[in-house]
Symmetry: C2
Subunit: 245 residues, 2 copies
Amino acid sequence: MTEPEFLAGYDPAAYERPALAVDLVLLGIRAGRLAALLLRRSQQPQAGLWALPGGFVGIAETLDAAAERVLRDKAGIGRARLEQLYTFGAVDRDPRMRIVSVAYLALLPEAAFAEALAGSAALTAATLVVPWAGEAGGPVSAVTEDGAPLALALAFDHADILALAVKRLRGKLDYTDVGFALLPEHFTLRQLQDVHAAIRGAPLNKSAFRRRMRDRGWIAPTGAREAGTAFRPAELFRFDRSGQF
Amino acid sequence: MTEPEFLAGYDPAAYERPALAVDLVLLGIRAGRLAALLLRRSQQPQAGLWALPGGFVGIAETLDAAAERVLRDKAGIGRARLEQLYTFGAVDRDPRMRIVSVAYLALLPEAAFAEALAGSAALTAATLVVPWAGEAGGPVSAVTEDGAPLALALAFDHADILALAVKRLRGKLDYTDVGFALLPEHFTLRQLQDVHAAIRGAPLNKSAFRRRMRDRGWIAPTGAREAGTAFRPAELFRFDRSGQF
DNA sequence: AGAATAGTGTCTATGAGACAGTATCCA
DNA sequence: TGGATACTGTCTCATAGACACTATTCT
């Protein structure tokens, strides 16, 4: 049998299939802490609980395209660098039916995060508590902005997805540009250090941090300085894409 | 509407779904070089081409369980540590229909690799050429054991999957036990160094390598020595799981 | 002037590459 | 004894933590 003959006789509906979805972990910095954008579920199942923005993958739609569509339609964010995280396939993770979900991670600059939050009443920002527990990282829990636990639990297995996202982020912190992706175009070294500290869940040595950023060629001075500070204004830098990774 | 009411009225077949499969990258060491187990496709489509062992995910089967089933039934390997790699979702990656595939990576000890190879005529070992191209790693190509390019190309997007697997392996080499997973229970430091060099695609400094393995507490002496060597036999070590990661 | 933060200099510990040297085995 | 490999010692360099020090701005 040749390939065309085979394909003509092939029945794509022979076996029952799991449904396929994407879920988005949208991380940003809020008040100096790592935060995630969550959507309040308006429909059953698990209506009222907080969940990651997600949606089903179309039959002629790439996984990446589905993630972009959800980003646009459910989170109201035009563009962001999306990266595939992991695929969750527990049989009972959704009560409706068998749904396998491909999780994506996106890092939002502070302004984009705030804008998305302001643009939809269904969205909330959950501050992520990232305790330092060795290099491997500890558990991650989501709390409201004032530090109280979220009033409602996260839907489905979304707490697991969130925890994995932070773990991945932490792993990439030292050798990729993820720190810059969470900051505005111009930033101070202090802001950059705070972002790194927030993701690590542990403080960083100031001079060693500055030295490292300089030596790796990741930052370029803009010549400008911070404005409106109560004390000595810090120099503003921008991310130098020509640096070594 | 309550959740039970909602679920009762839910139609799981409302939308057309992609098919979901798993594909396995089975890596091992063969003649001191990194190698992958490939399966010759006996059926259409792309019959005759080399492919990663794979299969569809059952409707009540976890992704991990599907990967284990494929490992057992298609590669004839009883057990191995499987790790999810990435999910490939290009729309036209399979000519039959839309198939999204979750790729898994498994590392086989030398003996298990050879045993699987001997157990099935449809399996072949493709040596992987891993050129050194900076820390990020370069492209990976599959060749036969004598160094010639594979007579037949890899099916579907399986060359991409293979390349990603090697990249992931390289990334985890320095801070996980992947090097030991490819070796037998007892090994010499030279063997261990060769495995690391094969994955890195670049040679390693001998004394620095030995020092590192010692200092991290990853290896424990067995007291025994190599047998049957033409020259001074090397000390045999085993992996010390209590070491730091 | 004082407060508060920005930014620097230096000491030290650690880890790894380079490379030569010694030890041990077989033929 | 010689050849080949196992294994070690030491020098040097790069990176990062600790921590005190100076610099600059606003009130």
